[in-house]
């Protein structure tokens, strides 16, 4: 009696009265599903756009980042587990910040964009949607940093108010998703294609974990899929794993593994493949795929030099570099 089915993400949680979904924050109260963290963020910060990471979207601009408790995945290596693997009732810090206040605060702090990030913003969907709609009205951009574990219908609606997304592709293997993240691969791939179809600027992150998802044959399959389904110009960020949360038994990803994966992805046809979480590596920079000119030289999140023309071209060969540059 009084059960509801949440249809936001591929889990399709059936939630009894008084209970919460797998995400811990969508709660059945009196037979109605409530988004209990709507307007109740637990993390606010101003980050550089490069931290999302988004390298081809408004470079070197500050982005107001917001997150609530909860997540619909349970990654054993989560780097924000204090936030994502708890319900709102467990959070020490919850502040009231409804969408108009959030947008005003972002503007007051001089940010051109708002990022819904840290935990997975899928679980605070309504807060994202209302805030993003208001942000657009006031000339701000919206960035969705997600694991893309969301159903098609709500995602298509959300895409109307999104400008860019960095989506995590945790591995190109369903078994890995089930074992390490408590999710599944197919809906993630579908969501990425949907964002592409809806015109959201998309960059993909793949965290390489030693021995678990660093197989080069899998990397090749993933890169080929990206070329075919998302386009060769879609940036791919290989990110270095650090032992965290429930996965402290594995070492950080060796530099050579990241470099080999990058070469594999470039050979598969992707044009912009980066290495992240490895401060000072040359693969943090954007390189012209046609003539090899270094277009944006980065050190960590800092841009040392930007040679792109105003309309996003290589100054030497005039190759257009995909992205949203202004």
């Amino acid at each position: 009696m009084g059960e509801v089915s949440c249809e936001l993400c591929p889990r399709f949680c059936v939630i009894p009265e008084g209970g919460a979904g797998d995400c811990r924050v969508r709660v059945n109260l009196g037979g109605k599903l409530r988004a209990t963290t709507y307007g109740r963020p637990s993390a606010l910060h101003i980050d550089p756009m490069e931290k999302k990471p988004l390298y081809h979207f408004h470079p070197a601009t500050p982005v107001f980042s917001v997150a609530t408790a909860g997540c619909n995945l349970h990654c054993q290596n989560c780097q924000n587990w204090q936030l994502s693997q708890h319900g709102g009732e467990e959070m020490e810090n919850i502040i009231r910040l409804d969408p108009p206040e959030l947008v005003n605060l972002a503007r007051e702090r001089g940010c051109e964009s708002i990022a819904y990030t840290y935990s997975d913003p899928v679980v605070f969907y309504e807060y994202v949607y209302d805030s993003a709609e208001l942000a657009h009205e006031q000339g701000l951009h919206n960035v969705f940093v997600t694991a893309a574990f969301i159903n098609e219908k709500p995602l298509r609606r959300l895409c109307r108010v999104l400008d860019a997304s960095n989506a995590d592709l945790k591995a190109f293997d369903d078994g890995f998703y089930r074992k390490t993240n408590g999710g599944s691969l197919k809906p993630v791939l579908k969501a990425m294609v949907t964002m592409r179809e809806e015109g959201v600027w998309l960059e993909i992150t793949n965290l390489l974990i030693p021995t678990l998802n660093d197989d080069l044959a899998m990397v090749r399959r993933m890169a080929r899929w990206m070329v075919t389904e998302l386009g060769e110009g879609t940036p791919l960020h290989f990110s270095r794993f650090q032992p965290l949360y429930r996965m402290r038994n594995l070492p950080p990803t060796p530099t050579e593994t990241l470099e080999r994966a990058r070469k594999e992805a470039l050979d598969a046809g992707l044009h912009h493949v980066y290495i992240g979480n490895l401060f000072g590596h040359e693969a943090e920079s954007t390189i012209c795929p046609r003539d090899g000119t270094v277009l944006i030289r980065r050190t960590g999140y800092h841009i040392d030099e930007n040679q792109l023309t105003a309309d996003g071209r290589c100054p030497v060969c005039l190759e257009t570099i995909p992205g949203v540059w202004l």
């Binding site: 949440c6 009894p16 008084g18 109605k32 988004a35 209990t36 009732e89």
Partner: protein
Amino acid sequence: MKLPIQTITITRRRVLGMLVALGLPVPWSARADKWSYKEAAYYRKH
């Protein structure tokens, strides 16, 4: 004596879990200042 936060959290979750198991209402309203009651999108009543 001050209990560690983790102990309080686990105890609170167990109490809430017992209330759910017994079919009793969970006192979300006790934390009305912390919670939003915004109705979620994309769900279906049984």
